[in-house]
């Protein structure tokens, strides 16, 4: 895999290399100020991620526009979906559709919270 690493850029998280836990503790100081620092990091991440969330969303809306132009705005216009119902002799929420496309299994897991799974 060495070769591919050269072909496509690929970076380790840069801070990980720069700072060990001890360095981090020294740098941040486990003190009140460190709490303020963590808070700052979170705000910074939230700010930065907005830019790539926006770009990725725009990509999807661009795809949507492309499809709207060829009369494929809504799912009921998908001919492949209609073929599925035809071939399987069913319709939305029909018997076969219920078997394959719906679930009845949602599990109440709340009362299991206290039972001892380990902390990994």
């Amino acid at each position: 895999m060495e070769a591919t690493k050269e072909n496509y850029f690929y970076a380790e998280k840069p801070v990980g290399q720069l700072l060990s836990r001890r360095d981090f503790l020294k740098a941040a100081g486990v003190s009140v100020s460190a709490i303020a620092i963590s808070g700052y990091v979170v705000t910074d991440i939230v700010q930065k991620r907005k830019s790539y969330i926006a770009l990725r969303q725009q990509g999807l809306y661009k795809d949507d526009k492309r499809l709207q132009k060829i009369n494929l705005a809504g799912s009921h216009q998908n001919a492949s979906c209609l073929k599925v119902y035809q071939d399987m002799g069913t319709k939305p929420m029909g018997e076969v559709a219920e078997q394959l496309l719906h679930t009845k299994t949602y599990v109440d897991r709340s009362n299991l919270l206290m039972q001892g799974a380990h902390h990994g």
């Binding site: 072909n7 850029f9 690929y10 970076a11 998280k13 840069p14 801070v15 990980g16 720069l18 700072l19 981090f24 503790l25 020294k26 941040a28 460190a34 963590s38 910074d44 991440i45 930065k48 991620r49 969330i53 770009l55 990725r56 969303q57 990509g59 999807l60 809306y61 795809d63 949507d64 499809l67 494929l72 705005a73 809504g74 799912s75 009921h76 998908n78 492949s80 979906c81 071939d87 399987m88 939305p92 929420m93 559709a97 078997q99 394959l100 496309l101 719906h102 679930t103 299994t105 599990v107 109440d108 897991r109 709340s110 299991l112 919270l113 039972q115 001892g116 799974a117 902390h119 990994g120």
Partner: protein, 450 residues
Amino acid sequence: MSEVSKIRTFPPSKESWGGEAAFEGTHRKGELRGIIKINQDNCVGCDTCTAFCPTEAIKGSLGVAHAISTNKCVACGQCLVNCPFGAIEQMSFVDEIMKKLDDPKAFVVAHPSPAVRVSIAEEFGGTPGDLTINRLYNAFEKAGFHNYDVNFAADQTILEEGTEFIKKVRYWVLGERGEDLEHVAHHPLPHFTSCCPAWVKNAETFHPELIPHISGAKSPIQMGGALAKTWAAEFVWKKDPRDIYMVSVTPCTAKIFEASRPEFNSAYEHLKAESKIPQETPSFQDIDAVLTARDAAEIFRRKGINPLTMSDEREIETMNVYTGAATIFGASGGVMEAALRTAYFILSGTELSNPDITLVRGYEQDIVEATIPVPLKALNGKIINVKVAVVNGASRNIKEIVKRLIDDKNQYHFVEVMNCPGGCVNGGGQPVRTMGTSWLHPLLPLPLRA
């Protein structure tokens, strides 16, 4: 734009599926656990991840290595994509899938989610949002996969979930009664979406009172898995369903959990009931393995394939037909918008004059509310106001929505919940953008400053 970081992965171990007990903590027998893990050697205890966790599953005080409670974790991977130190790792099935691709008997199918087509380019030097559709199909084909676009299955989801929602409206809003509505009598409004597996597990663990409200329609990937091994096997690929190996390619780490839910073997149950496979066939899941967008990139790299240099030409095939409604599933508000396009058409008898329901879009607001007037064909154009809400990011917003519903349970008809802020485009399986080191600068001792 910043670069993309490498995320460490680990293969599942025998313990990952649990032992013989029906339950271990919150996990049922066979359900994958420990999908997201904090590497104790690399965690510096900066505490950043705890702010991104929707279920307060991460324990540890400042400066001490943190750990995840398997019981509470919904495997969303938000901690992983936001850890500034790259200390969090993901369970990966890359090795298993590489082996399958070499097995001449296996008919290996790639099932790529909407949000992967706007992120995979980043792993190869592209910009976030670069649309990779035909290039991605061609890359999968070159790697040895057949294609079945999850977007096609997402359209199926809308047809099913839209029909279900309309039945609920007829029963609960319009007061209709009848045999075909009996089922929804046990499922009151508001209707909650079911396609985000992290949200579903969150509800099952922390808000079981919401379970009757969650749509019974499966997620697109799970519909796709079941249809691949029944309908597509028989009518499109003409393959023995037992040879089909379904690989969903997702922006999501919680989908790894979802695929292991024991009830998601519907194709097997159906085929057996129809005597299309021998009765003694051992059970198989609808989705055999899950790749995150990062994992898919890793497979491409191992095979020396760069999707960005693949041809952008391709004929439209039955298995890759999809609509705009399906592709926007990957953005927060998208499932709602997609469902409304079809529900509006069915209820009113006409297409929306403008399919863009921009009100429900976006990534800035935690909770978006909107009211959509829909004229009813069956009632001579009488208008009902469909009240909807979009929960964008689960961390604190689920509690808020539940609070609002306790105050007034008639507040909404339809609620979309996405665990990840911005929707699947920001999922825990997406390429991870480094934040660089600038944020640390003021903290660093002078000799370490770049």
